[in-house]
């Protein structure tokens, strides 16, 4: 495949188009995911916060965390409300799970890193990453100001992709289609844009060819407004033809002289 001017220009433009669209899609997706996950996180934090309030109200009445049997019902209810929630856990300051939406896990221990947010005696919400889960949590503080444990809510980390994968796929296809469509358009329009250049080159070439043929016409017709360069080019073509003819006549002359002798 030869690289014509139109192809070169189109290739450059298509490369720019493709990379621009890729960068834009990437930015767009990142932004979307950011907005989406902050929305999801804020909702789950809110759910965790309502549980925290309930638990702390009970703690305030002097109950021990592990005695709050009704909390188990609360978290099971919250989990049942949203199938995206993987689990809700309440664990004490030593990491033992006291309540879990999955009752089988009660009595087990949470990963050690989950205890880190509890060492600081604050009620700041925290977010953790598990292998395939996002975790939002809030420390549970009793009325003595002591961190008794934490409530955490787990939801799948691939949430955005899983929920909206199909939609994003369709969008990617649409954008891909756009890129292909406009690439084709580029090919056509680039070739149109370069047509005058191509024509002029072809015309000059044709003029040159004609000039080199013995019976050709020196004047190049049909080039229209050609400007200084083309004027010079005409002179060049004329001179070339003149040179060829001159050399030819000279050769004839020499031949004649040669034969004469």
């Amino acid at each position: 495949m030869s690289w014509s001017l139109a192809r070169k220009v189109s290739a450059a433009l298509i490369a720019i188009l493709v990379s621009t669209m890729m960068v834009m899609s990437l930015f767009g997706f990142f932004k979307f995911e950011e907005v989406m996950s902050s929305l999801v996180r804020s909702r789950y934090s809110f759910v965790a916060f309502t549980i925290k309030k309930k638990v702390e109200d009970s703690l305030n009445l002097g109950f021990a965390l592990r005695q709050l049997r009704q909390v188990q019902e609360t978290i099971e209810l919250e989990k049942a409300r949203d199938e995206q929630i993987q689990g809700i856990e309440i664990y004490d300051a030593r990491g033992e799970i006291l309540f879990n939406s999955d009752r089988g896990r009660i009595g087990a221990s949470v990963p050690e890193t989950w205890l880190d947010p509890l060492t600081a005696t604050s009620s700041q919400p925290f977010a953790l990453m598990d292998e395939d889960s996002n975790v939002v949590g809030l420390p549970l503080v009793n009325n003595l100001g002591k961190v008794e444990g934490a409530v955490v809510l787990l939801y799948p980390s691939g949430y955005v992709e899983r929920e909206l994968g199909a939609m994003l796929g369709r969008l990617a296809l649409e954008i891909g289609g756009l890129v292909v469509g406009f690439s084709l358009l580029t090919l056509v329009v680039a070739s149109l844009a370069l047509r005058p250049v191509r024509r002029r080159l072809a015309a000059m070439e044709a003029g040159l060819d004609r000039a080199l043929m013995k019976d050709g016409d020196v004047a190049i017709a049909g080039l229209g407004d050609l400007g200084e360069f083309d004027g010079q080019f005409d002179e060049f073509v004329g001179k070339t033809r003149e040179a060829i003819e001159h050399i030819k006549t000279s050769t004839d002359e020499v031949e004649r002289l040669d034969r004469l002798a």
Binding site: K53, A64, N143, L144
Partner: protein
């Protein structure tokens, strides 16, 4: 996948918490509890804390029955038993058994055994500790009175007050101090304090004068009644709160009884039970975490118990703001009261 992760750490956590978990098998901590007027909520809170936290303790409970002369015996017994910690209830027990910081005597007081105190109304005033940051000696403790400005903030957040009324027993020094503090805070918060001391005849406050004093306050345009933590008024709380209800004055109590078992509308208190738990928490710091008692501050519980007496609220139709309601403990017997 989470499961796998958990199992990996279970062992680690067990190993880490080994010494703590092993302790139940070891001998329990022995705590000598010296009480002033029998087993009540603070003592219960103290005991429950250890149960809840799975800390094995052996409690040796002694009640002075408001008899000061028994206290030297307690000191001797505690020393002789060689207990791990001493708990003292009330100012008298605390001062007599632990001494004040300037008069402590190893012969008469407990010095070598760490001690925690509770329900001492003025730990600094009674010279139990030189300041609230540190006792400077082998004791720690809790305070239980709600600071006056916390009380007023709570009262104001329920309903903005212009004229605050207060009925009190002029014979009780605590109430006079409270009146001064309220007056000062009034300058800050923009309310006037109207006081009505109950009548005193033959050096004794007259119960019958309470209702008329409340009427006087109503006449003076009082829009909230402050009930100080006054022994006389505590005993006669039904008379006082019924009078306030009759005059349609909302009432705020600095102690829990007028709200919990009478007709005061609102209370902001540290519950004895909570104070007992906090005292036990200090004991845990000393016994389990080996923190020197002098390094523990003397402080009240972090969270105030806001008690709202719903039948009274309904009778007065002075409803609590939503944000306060969501924080409060509501007393609702279901029995309607009439002004």
């Amino acid at each position: 996948m989470i499961g796998r992760l958990f199992f990996g750490v279970v062992t680690a956590v067990l190993l880490m918490s080994g010494p703590v978990a092993a302790e139940p098998a070891a001998k329990p901590y022995r705590i000598y509890m010296a009480l002033w007027r029998g087993w009540e909520d603070a003592a219960q809170g103290f005991k429950d804390y250890f149960t809840n936290q799975n800390i094995p303790v052996e409690l040796i409970i002694r009640d002075a029955g408001q008899d000061r002369s028994k206290l030297p015996e307690f000191v001797a017994e505690a020393k002789q038993l060689g207990v791990d910690l001493v708990f003292t209830w009330g100012t008298t027990v605390t001062v007599d058994m632990l001494g004040t910081y300037d008069t402590v005597d190893p012969a008469k007081h407990i010095t070598d055994i760490p001690a925690v105190f509770a329900i001492v109304s003025q730990p600094v005033g009674a010279k139990v500790v030189p300041n609230l940051a540190s006792s400077g000696r082998n004791i720690a403790g809790t305070s239980y009175l709600v600071p006056m400005d916390t009380q007023i903030n709570l009262l104001q957040s329920y309903r903005s007050v212009r004229k605050l009324g207060m009925v009190y027993n002029p014979l009780e020094k605590n109430s006079l101090v409270a009146a001064d503090e309220l007056r000062d805070l009034g300058k800050r918060d923009g309310y006037d304090l109207v006081v009505a001391p109950v009548e005193v005849v033959d050096g004794k406050p007259v119960v019958e004068s309470i209702a008329s004093k409340v009427r006087d306050l109503k006449a003076a345009g009082v829009d909230f009644l402050y009930i100080p933590p006054d022994t006389f008024l505590n005993i006669n709380r039904d008379v006082l709160t019924s009078a306030a209800l009759a005059e349609k004055i909302p009432s705020f109590a600095a102690a829990e009884n007028p709200v919990l078992s009478s007709k005061a509308m609102l209370g902001g208190v540290y519950r004895y039970y909570t104070v007992g738990q906090l005292t036990a928490y200090k004991a845990e710091q000393i016994l389990v975490h080996k923190i020197a008692p002098a390094d523990l501050p003397v402080d009240p519980p972090k969270r105030l118990s806001i008690i709202i007496n719903m039948p009274v609220v309904r009778a007065l139709e002075v409803y609590p703001p939503m944000s306060l309601l969501s924080l409060a403990e509501v007393v609702d017997s279901g029995v309607e009261v009439r002004p």
